[in-house]
Amino acid sequence: MAQVTLRKVVKRYDEVLAVRGIDLEIADKEFIVLVGPSGCGKSTTLRMIAGLEEISEGQIAIGGRVVNDVPPKDRDIAMVFQNYALYPHMNVYENMSFGLKLKGTAKSIIDTRVKQAAQILDITDLLERKPKQLSGGQRQRVAMGRAIVRDPKVFLFDEPLSNLDAKLRVQMRTEIKKVHQKVRTTTVYVTHDQVEAMTLADRVVVMSNGVIEQVGTPDELYHRPTTKFVAGFIGSPAMNFIPCKVERNGGALKVVLADNLAFDVPASRTGRYEGCVGKNAILLGLRPEHITETRQHMEVDQRPFDRTLDVTEPMGMETLVYFTIGATPICGRVAPNAGARDGQPMKLAADLANMHLIDDSTGKVI
C-alpha cells in the first residue's frame, strides 16, 4: 500500500516561495501527473516527495508514514531524471543493480530482478553496454529500469521525455503507460506538456505559481475546468476567451459579444448563469474545436454566425481558422473540405453546449 499524502506543504528558498501550501491525496497504484508552466513548482514538489529538498512547512506521508525527516533511501521511492543521470562508468547491468547491491541484496536475486526489468523494457541486449553507447530512448529505458528493479512504493518522474525528439517521445509515452499497467506502482510524473499529462494520467494536478489550480481526471479538466488558468492551459490550441455580456432574452439568457454578435445560452444553463446578468468582466470561453463550419444537421445548441477569416492553417485532418470578434483574436477548427480561404467570409457555428463563462475579476469559471 503506498498512498502519498501532502498536507499544506510549503517550500521556501530564502525569499522565494516556490511551493505555497499544497494539499494532495494520491491513492495507491494511481498515476498522477503534475503539470503547469515553467517555474510553477512541479519539480520542487516532486523533489520534496523524493526527499531531495527539505520541506519548509507541512507534512508528506508515504504509505501512511510521515517522511519529513526520512532520508531519500529510506523512503522506498525511485526517481527518473530528465537527463537520465545514469552512472557513466557503469554498464547497464551495473547501473540497474547499483541500488540493490548497496542494500546487500543477494546476487541471484539481483540477477533475476535485473533480467526481469530488462525484459519488461526490452533492453536485454543492452545490459553490457555503457550509457554513452546508447541512444536517448535506450538511456531513458535504462533509467526506468533502474527504478523498476528496486521495486519501490512510488515512482517519481521529472520530465523524463523532454530530452527526446517528438516521435520518440510519443513512443516512450506509450511505453511508460504500458510499464505502469504491468507493475502498477504509485507514480508521480512531472511534465509541462499537457498532452503528456492528459494521455498518461489517472488524475492530473494543474499547478501555477506554487499552488494547485485544479485536480481531476483528464476528462474533468477538459470539460469542467474550474479556473480560467486551467481552461486556458488544457487543450491545444488554447481555449478562446471572448469578452461578453449576459442579457435576458425573455425567459432565457443570451451572451452578447462585440460586433453585434449574440448567442442564445442553452436552456439547461439558464439557472447557472442567472447571476451574471448585467455584470462586467465576464468572458465567454469556447474551445477551438467547438467553433466549426455550419453543417446540414446542426446540434440544438450550435449557433451559426458569419465571419471573415484572417488566416487559415491546413493541418491535414482539420484546418485551423483565425478571425476576430471585436478586437479579440479567435481560433476555430473546421473540416479540411469546408472551403476555408484566407481573407474570405465563412459561415461558422459555435457550439454553446460546451460554453464556459468566466468571471475575469476572480479568474473562476462560473
Binding site: L52, P72, K73, P88, F98, L102, R146
Partner: protein, 303 residues
C-alpha cells in the same frame, strides 16, 4: 551546407568551392611553422643537456663546437650511477614525491568533494580561500616555517630541520590548494542528478564519493596527481632552505650543491644528473598525457 549534388560539384571548378579547404591548408601551414619553432625552442635545452652529458670534461672545456660530440663517452653516467650520493638524492626525491602525491590526493579529493557538493555554512568562502592560499609565494613562508620548526622542537622535541622527510609535510602546502581547486572544478562539472540518483539508490556520502565521483572524475584526478608529482619532484626552494646534510638532500638541490664545488662546475655530471632526474616525470607524462590534457581542459571550462 557544403554538400552539393555530385553533378554540381563535378561541374564547378574546384577553386570556387575550394576556398574553405584552401583556408584550412594555409592555417595548417602556419600552425606547423609555429609548432616547429616552439619545438626547436623548447627542445634545445634538453638536447644540449644530452650532448653535454656524453662529452668528457676535456672536450667540454676545450671550446670546440658545443653542438657536436667528437669522442662520445658514457663516463658521466657510469660515475653518477655508481656514486651512492646521487642514488640517495634520487631515493629521497622519489620517496618524498610519492608520499606527497598520496597525501595531497587524499586531502584534496575529499576536501573538493565536500566543498563542491555538501553545501554547508561558509563552504563557498572556504573554496575561494583554498585558492587564495595558492597565490601566496612560497618564499614568504620561510620565516614563519623556521619559527614553527623551532616551536615544534621546543614543545615536542622533534627536529624538523635538515631531514628529507620534512619535505613530505612541507610540499602539500603547495600542492593541496591547487589540486583541491582542480578537483572542485571537476566535481562541479558532474551533474547534480548523478549524486541525487546515488542518494536515492541508498549510497552514503562516502559511497557516492568512492563509487561515483572518483571513477567519473578520474581524468581530473590524474591531472591533479601529475601536477602534485611534478611540483614535488621539481621543488627547489624548500629543500634548499631546510636541508643541508648531503644524505638529506633531494635531487634538484643535491645536483647543484654537490656537483658545483666552489667555482668548479662539473658540467658533464650536472647535465647527466638533470637529464636522469627528468626521466621519471617524462615517463609519467608519456603514459598519462591524454588524461592530463582532458583534465586540464575540463578544469578550464568549469573552473
Amino acid at each position: 551546407m557544403s554538400v552539393a549534388t555530385p553533378a554540381v560539384e563535378a561541374a564547378s571548378p574546384p577553386s570556387r568551392y575550394g576556398s574553405m579547404s584552401r583556408d584550412r591548408k594555409w592555417a595548417l601551414r602556419w600552425s606547423y611553422f609555429f609548432l616547429t619553432l616552439f619545438a626547436i625552442f623548447f627542445l634545445m635545452p634538453p638536447i644540449y643537456m644530452l650532448i653535454t652529458s656524453v662529452k668528457t670534461s676535456a672536450e667540454i672545456s676545450a671550446a670546440s663546437n658545443p653542438w657536436w660530440v667528437y669522442k662520445p663517452t658514457l663516463d658521466n653516467y657510469i660515475e653518477l650511477l655508481t656514486q651512492n650520493q646521487y642514488l640517495t638524492f634520487f631515493r629521497n626525491s622519489a620517496l618524498v614525491s610519492i608520499c606527497v602525491v598520496i597525501i595531497t590526493m587524499l586531502i584534496s579529493v575529499v576536501a573538493a568533494f565536500a566543498l563542491a557538493r555538501m553545501k554547508f555554512w561558509g563552504s563557498a568562502t572556504l573554496a575561494t580561500g583554498v585558492f587564495l592560499t595558492y597565490l601566496i609565494p612560497e618564499t614568504l613562508l620561510f620565516i614563519p616555517l623556521f619559527k614553527m620548526f623551532a616551536y615544534v622542537r621546543e614543545w615536542f622535541d622533534i627536529e624538523l630541520m635538515n631531514h628529507w622527510w620534512t619535505m613530505i609535510i612541507l610540499y602539500p602546502t603547495l600542492t593541496v590548494p591547487f589540486c583541491t581547486w582542480i578537483m572542485i572544478g571537476y566535481f562541479a562539472s558532474i551533474p547534480k542528478e548523478l549524486d541525487e540518483a546515488a542518494l536515492i539508490d541508498g549510497a552514503t556520502w562516502t559511497q557516492t564519493l568512492t563509487k561515483i565521483f572518483i571513477p567519473v572524475a578520474l581524468p581530473g584526478i590524474i591531472a591533479a596527481t601529475i601536477f602534485a608529482f611534478t611540483v614535488s619532484w621539481a621543488q627547489f626552494l624548500y629543500p634548499l632552505a631546510f636541508t643541508t646534510s648531503t644524505d638529506q638532500l633531494v635531487l634538484p638541490v643535491g645536483i647543484v650543491t654537490t656537483l658545483i664545488k666552489g667555482d668548479v662546475f662539473n658540467w658533464g655530471q650536472i647535465m647527466t644528473g638533470a637529464l636522469l632526474g627528468a626521466a621519471p616525470p617524462l615517463v609519467i607524462y608519456a603514459f598519462l598525457m591524454d588524461y592530463y590534457i582532458a583534465g586540464l581542459t575540463a578544469g578550464a571550462t568549469k573552473g
